[in-house]
Symmetry: C2
Subunit: 265 residues, 2 copies
């Protein structure tokens, strides 16, 4: 099972949109996909039109009361299962502070289902708190959605520091799989500058033992496309809502690139 | 002093861009402006080209060790002072958990400077944790930057619940001043739908005793404009970087609308 955390503490860069549509693209290609919503905003759940009723369990109950993960899984499309979030998750940060092994609760919960899926994607909140650490401990690689803007680039160093620490102390397999440019407007000068900065940074890491030494800046970019924002309001992925749009084409291509047999960098 | 928290737990909707440029617009109109960076990403500080050196104090030290606020204030432009953030702030959430009165630390720190400025703007992180509660306890009104997208609209209810609780338990003066549409693309159908939803929601609250009963959807919208994203990369506000751009025009208008003598709704 390919296990990927979709992560960037910068807000609004396309994490949820990428998790939903990359997952859907991989499912269309025949992969059995598990999506986990780890954001108290529960936007990935909303994206699939899911709102967890008060008397039902969500990822919060899996983490805080060891409810089995597969008992909260929902079937949200062909080959796609979702572990939904709800607002209770907002309390997890403070509630888990003194729980032993609080950082590996998700990894423990996922163990029983490892063989049931081909791919796991975790949508993370815009922070580097205990929920995001749980995601980093539970996966083998991270995918960083990035908007080619100045502010969005600044946080990258901090994110990579956190990945290095988690790899050193909790999850020795963790690597940076790659960076995908989202909401991309390739004609702007700013986008060009940011892309150059990124390439220089990644090239400088080749051959080192940093967790991002083999990270790639994916060739597929996700263009700005209003259909991607609209699809969420219908509780549909872009493939159901606007299958011939740039959004659908880009996420299809991204899935092909990410899930192709990995060539050496 | 007009005290405003710029807040929305949805990520990437224009909080930092609004705090920086609205503050600059008001300063250009002659107001003495104090900006506070309350986000561990420290993007407001970056926007003004400020990076706090390891041996200097920031808002973190004000909250955690009662360092006087005016001792960390930086002059970042005519009539504009900034209380910068740094990465230490990321630890505040966990560190303040058991501090007595942790939610009013910022309010207490601001008291000595209340008379020195005409306007206070606080840039909040994309969450509703203890830092954001500190901002809500310290101001009289909130300004909600909102992108007219489905996911961004969903979180509004949760934000208003938090405002209601803070008003009830900590800050009885707290109201919702208004909502400003950011990165606005008025020609999209989605934007039109979201705006209708907002107006209906706000109209329904008129005459009630909800904290948003007098909230307005500001007539000024901030159009999507790449100059706003570029200006951050030069450490300049849009007025210094591109004074004739839509970004400069829109924030100038917004300042005039927000800081005009308030007419009854
Ligand atoms: N390629 C795109 N083109 C246009 N709009 C997009 C695109 N990708 C995402 N969006 C929209 O931009 C907004 C931000 O995207 P999204 O919510 O996926 O980001 P996020 O990183 O998950 O945000 P958060 O930090 O709040 O979790 C959403 O309203 C989404 O619909
Ligand atoms: N009106 C606009 N037109 C174009 N780009 C914009 C506009 N407003 C903000 N931006 C850009 O969009 C991105 C998100 O804006 P910003 O960082 O201000 O949002 P935020 O709500 O503060 O994000 P966070 O939740 O991470 O704190 C930034 O790269 C910014 O430069
Ligand atoms: Mg999200
Ligand atoms: Mg910000």
């Amino acid at each position: 099972m390919r296990r990927i955390a979709v992560i960037n503490q910068k807000g609004g860069v396309g994490k949820t949109t990428t998790t939903a549509n990359l997952g859907a693209a991989q499912a269309r290609a025949g992969g059995r996909v598990l999506l986990v919503d780890l954001d108290p905003q529960a936007h990935l759940s909303l994206y699939f039109g899911v709102e967890v009723a008060d008397d039902r369990d969500s990822i919060y109950d899996v983490l805080s009361s060891s409810v089995p993960l597969d008992s909260v899984a929902l079937d949200v499309g062909t080959n796609v299962s979702l572990i939904p979030a709800d607002i209770d998750l907002a309390g997890a940060e403070a509630e888990l502070v003194s729980v032993t092994g609080r950082e590996v609760l998700l990894r423990e919960a996922l163990e029983p289902v490892n063989g049931d899926y081909d791919c796991l994607l975790i949508d993370c909140p815009p922070s580097l708190g205990v929920l995001t650490i749980n995601a980093l401990a539970a996966v083998d690689e991270i995918l960083i959605p990035l908007q080619a803007h100045f502010l969005a680039l600044q946080g990258l160093g901090r994110l990579l520091e956190t990945v290095t620490l988690v790899r050193q102390r909790i999850n020795p397999r963790l690597i940076v799989g790659g960076i995908v440019l989202c909401m991309h407007e390739s004609t702007t000068r700013l986008a060009g500058e940011v892309v150059e900065d990124l390439k220089t940074f990644l090239d400088a890491a080749r051959g080192t033992n940093q967790p991002w030494s083999e990270a790639r800046l994916y060739e597929t970019v996700i263009r700005r496309n209003i259909k991607l924002a609209e699809s969420a309001s219908f509780g549909q992925t872009v493939f159901d809502y606007a299958p011939r749009s740039n959004g659908a084409i880009d996420y299809q291509r991204l899935a092909a690139e990410i899930f192709a047999k990995r060539k050496p960098v």
